[in-house]
Symmetry: C2
Subunit: 340 residues, 2 copies
Amino acid sequence: MALDERKLEVLRAIVQDYVSTHEPVGSKVLAERHHLRVSPATIRNDMAALEDEGYITQPHTSAGRVPTEKGYRLFVDKLSTIKPLSPAERKAIQTFLAGAVDLDDVVSRTVRLLAQLTRQVAVVQYPSLTRSAVRHIELVQVGATRLLLVLITDTGRVEQRMVEFPHSISDEQAGSLRTAINTALAGEQLAEAPDQIATLLESASPELRPAMTTLATVLLETLVEKREERIMLAGTANLTRSTIDFPGTLRPVLEALEEQMVLLKLIGEVDSPSAFRVLIGDENQVEGLRGTSVVTAGYGTGSTALAGLGVLGPTRMDYPGTISAVRAVARYVGDLLAGN
Amino acid sequence: MALDERKLEVLRAIVQDYVSTHEPVGSKVLAERHHLRVSPATIRNDMAALEDEGYITQPHTSAGRVPTEKGYRLFVDKLSTIKPLSPAERKAIQTFLAGAVDLDDVVSRTVRLLAQLTRQVAVVQYPSLTRSAVRHIELVQVGATRLLLVLITDTGRVEQRMVEFPHSISDEQAGSLRTAINTALAGEQLAEAPDQIATLLESASPELRPAMTTLATVLLETLVEKREERIMLAGTANLTRSTIDFPGTLRPVLEALEEQMVLLKLIGEVDSPSAFRVLIGDENQVEGLRGTSVVTAGYGTGSTALAGLGVLGPTRMDYPGTISAVRAVARYVGDLLAGN
DNA sequence: CTTGGCACTCGCACCGGTGGAGTGCCAAGC
DNA sequence: GCTTGGCACTCCACCGGTGCGAGTGCCAAG
């Protein structure tokens, strides 16, 4: 059974009302507040139909209706128009992000900005290593058998890793290693680094071979294990905005938010910048985050995304507003990083 | 009026009972559970005295007693013996921390460990820049007028900062700058760096002077503004363990935890390692963290602390257990960093 | 100073009644 | 055939009253 125009209109009204009032919405207020030109009785009929189709539900007999996840999904896909940000908001984003002095600063400003704009929990992933290129690799002598490996990417990320060698390393050796490794890798995409490292290893002079092997292992570890993906979080206090939303269930949400891997799964799966995804309630496969919705977008400097960012909130959230904020911030961050 | 031995014993019993049960404790159970060799009536008299002195209070007439902050303070100062960790716990700390590959790893493992041991919110400060020495400074060419300044300290911290020059910088100039700056600063305590930088600036050759000035400004900013102090947080989910503790007041706590400056104030004020501090309830001057208690300790490699760490929880917490966990972890982290 | 006894005070859980919001259904109207 | 007003029905949220139990303060005796 198809839903005619007016029924969709009713659903939209229900979602909008419920999102702003947080209370089950009845046929009467619906007829009053939204200028549907029909009587409450008619709306009741439509609501009954919408309920049959599973788009809305009532908490108990003789209460108003509440959208189901299916209802939100339809709303997001078909019924909502992305509400453009106000000029003031755009301005605020720009000025707030403009003062950043380095990548850490960019990410931390972004995540706080996003949390403030959406009044929800914001998550920002650092530019993914596997999608960045090497700008420079530095080896710093720390002890006879130890070097600190510092990897600097074109996106401004700086990763460090202590490397322990089974034998001592002279200053000259360290210098040669540094030169060799930079010649081989500087400018290369990290995703292709494994190949480069392999050839580098083969062409290494016999006396550098053992040291180079150790170094190569660490480099590969850093790149292959995704352990080095980083994220930053802000706005967890916003979870308490509506105690009603997480009835005693704040716990698992906070726990999930502490699991970097979980968050990465959530926001890291983006391909092109400006694309965005909305996960509603149970669509979210993470145990403990059922009952929350997630809006994510990719950001990047070119046509492929460097990483993702997004916000997390109650299923009952202002989707149009959140989506536009997330997209706008993603775009600005991309532009900002492209400037570097 | 002095409190005699038994009254103190009663107070100790009340604190212990209340901490484990979370319920106001009455004279009867007190007489039963703790082998005070007197009758409930006697205990009631003592309790009345303790209440007069402000050490305990009753939520309402005819409920049991609950320790006041003054009561907890007395308990912590005089009545509790630090309970040693079990060998299993020590072992766990050691093995958990042992696998760390770099400073980030050390800090993140430490903070998670602490949160898990104490079942509370844990905070760990990165080794303070002002208390570290320079190991190496690297300048990476990023554009004609931009260098990425990378500062590596003896504690393993790596700080980056983009430096924008008003004029273009040649490779040779960058090289000279790097050499000069490393010669001047390598091995120096960062706290004394300002002086070194000043002399460095004076002795710079005329053609390097402008570039060096820009660089010096950035370096000083990084050091002087304490903006570069970092902290890491874990275990916020533990705040929800007892909804009772933060009656609708979870909000301000989460908000305070997002303020780096606030947390720094809280845990950063340590002088010598192994010293610890306990702040109970209102003693804590941070608005929003009234009603929570904080246990902090310094950690370091020598006789002065590098930075602080600690945990935050409800005033009704297991002080002896928490204190010993915090101290033990601080000691292990100090040892671990000394090994680098 | 300690102890048993006792009256007293609250908080809390339980209960039944009431009001109101909102629904579903039906019969009439366009 | 869709829309509409009317109407009975359901169920929650609120309210005041009640009984119970825990715990206290006080007192008089040991």
